[in-house]
């Protein structure tokens, strides 16, 4: 039997339709979600071992070099994946992708007039250790404009994808950088109605984790939904 997952707190998340982010009006579902309250299909989930990771998969500074080094400000991003009971999630697959230092993505559909960095791919992945820790090295992504409101720019951000132990915990989100003046103006971050929830997507400068004379560091923790503790033992088998 699998422990159930605490239901999602929808107030922490953006609603499906948020007119400040125009594409959500075309694509956001309008009908209420059907509440399942957990079945084996969603309480299980794929697991990914450390063995499946390449040696450079968590080093965006080195994993796409073609005869040179990426341009930009070298940074380490690190933190923990926890669940809603503040317990570390070990063995979580964390994947990340981002623009290069000038705000350009290595993607066939990105038309922003900024150079593609020949030595920067912009994606990586890692699996959390027994304490739920993850870390990777990269360059700080640049801001970029996008087609939404006239004059909309995205703050520097890194996209994150996380698998916990259950498919129900599946999460994709974005991490921002403390002190970025574009943050209050961002239409995507502002799809989240709760101000305190928005601040939880902002990584903190972590001088203690830097590599002196070489690389700055930022810290950001991720919280997935927790498991519900079983208070009574009268549950039927097979759920």
């Amino acid at each position: 039997m699998r422990d159930e997952i605490i239901p999602s707190d929808h107030g922490q998340h953006p609603p499906p339709v948020t007119p400040i982010y125009k594409t959500s009006v075309f694509r956001g579902p309008r009908m209420p979600l059907l509440s399942l309250n957990g079945s084996l299909s969603e309480l299980t989930g794929p697991r990914f071992g450390h063995g499946a990771m390449g040696a450079l998969d968590n080093d965006l500074y080195r994993n796409f070099q073609h005869g040179g080094e990426p341009i930009g400000e070298r940074i380490i991003v690190h933190g923990r994946v926890l669940d809603g009971n503040a317990k570390p999630v070990a063995g979580a697959l964390v994947e990340f992708w981002q623009a290069n230092a000038s705000g350009r993505y290595r993607h066939v559909n990105d038309r922003f007039e900024a150079p593609v960095d020949p030595n920067f791919g912009g994606c990586g992945r890692t699996v959390t250790d027994d304490e739920g820790r993850y870390h990777f090295r990269t360059v700080k992504p640049g801001a970029y404009p996008y087609r939404n409101g006239i004059g909309d720019w995205r703050p520097s951000h890194i996209h994150f994808s996380v698998f916990g132990t259950a498919f129900a915990q599946r999460l994709i989100t974005q991490m921002y950088f403390e002190g970025d003046p574009l943050i209050p103006h961002d239409s995507i971050l502002n799809t989240i109605p709760d101000a305190a929830a928005r601040t939880r997507l902002v990584a903190k400068l972590d001088l203690a984790a830097q590599v002196p004379q070489h690389t700055l560091a930022y810290r950001w923790d991720i919280v997935l939904r927790g498991h519900r503790s079983t208070l009574f033992e009268n549950r039927l088998e097979g759920n």
Binding site: P7, S8, D9, H13, P14, T18, Y21, F26, R27, G28, P29, R30, M31, L33, L34, L36, N37, S41, E42, T44, F48, A52, D57, N63, F64, R80, G84, N85, A86, L93, E95, W97, Y105, R106, H107, N109, G121, C123, R125, H159, S161, F167, R170, L171, I172, T173, I188, L189, T191, A197, R200, L201, K204, W220, D221, I222, V223, R235, G238, N239
Partner: protein, 196 residues
């Protein structure tokens, strides 16, 4: 970094859209480059995997009926014996808007509380530009009418006509059963999405 509340709990990290460039991180070959030895969820079904070989495919449509050609589609399913499971990941095609998986037909999975098992189904999860959260849904098989009629999840759907949004129609191609199900994110015939 975060401090638990007085009950020792932490609030969930909020979701954000996967954006238009989700392919870079999760299916980099579709973004136009090779970087990992093996992209997550891209490996074909192992040749020895027991079960009936099937193909599932469909389109993703927005509220206006336009194709969503930049969506990420993930699939988690039971194996033929009902145990979990198999995981696949793809994207809708930039040209045709189609997603597809070649897999095996899953077995029945036990339901909550010892009730009759759920009808065989695939769990689908979508992320895309314009979706503020990843969306969970399911695919049931159109040639299993009796099992579908008894399925506790399909029966939870209050409006009988909405149940059909989770049932894929069967055809056949080159001797392989093909199950087709379009996912309508919003508007007429909106797919039933799940709060799991």
């Amino acid at each position: 970094m975060f401090t638990p509340d007085s009950l020792g709990r932490l609030p969930e990290t909020p979701s954000q859209t996967a954006g238009p460039y989700v392919h870079i991180g999760l299916i980099p070959r579709q973004a136009g480059f090779e970087i990992f030895a093996d992209d997550v969820g891209a490996a074909p079904l192992p040749p020895g995997e027991p079960g009936e070989r099937i193909r599932v495919e469909g389109r993703v449509l927005d509220a206006t009926g336009a194709l969503v050609r930049d969506a990420l589609v993930e699939m988690w399913q039971a194996k033929a014996d009902g145990s979990h499971g198999l995981f696949f990941r793809t994207g809708t095609s930039f040209e045709t808007g189609l997603w597809s998986f070649d897999t095996v037909r899953p077995g029945a999975v036990p339901a909550r509380g010892g009730a009759a098992p759920m009808a065989p189904h695939l769990c689908l999860w979508l992320a895309a530009r314009g979706l503020n959260r990843g969306m969970h849904t399911r695919l049931y098989f159109g040639d299993r009418e009796e099992a579908n009629a008894a399925d506790p999840v399909l029966r939870f759907i209050e409006q009988p006509n909405r149940r059909a949004t989770l049932v894929a129609a069967r055809t056949e191609r080159d001797g392989v059963p093909v199950f087709t199900m379009d996912i309508r994110l919003a508007g007429d015939g909106e797919t039933v999405f799940l709060d799991v």
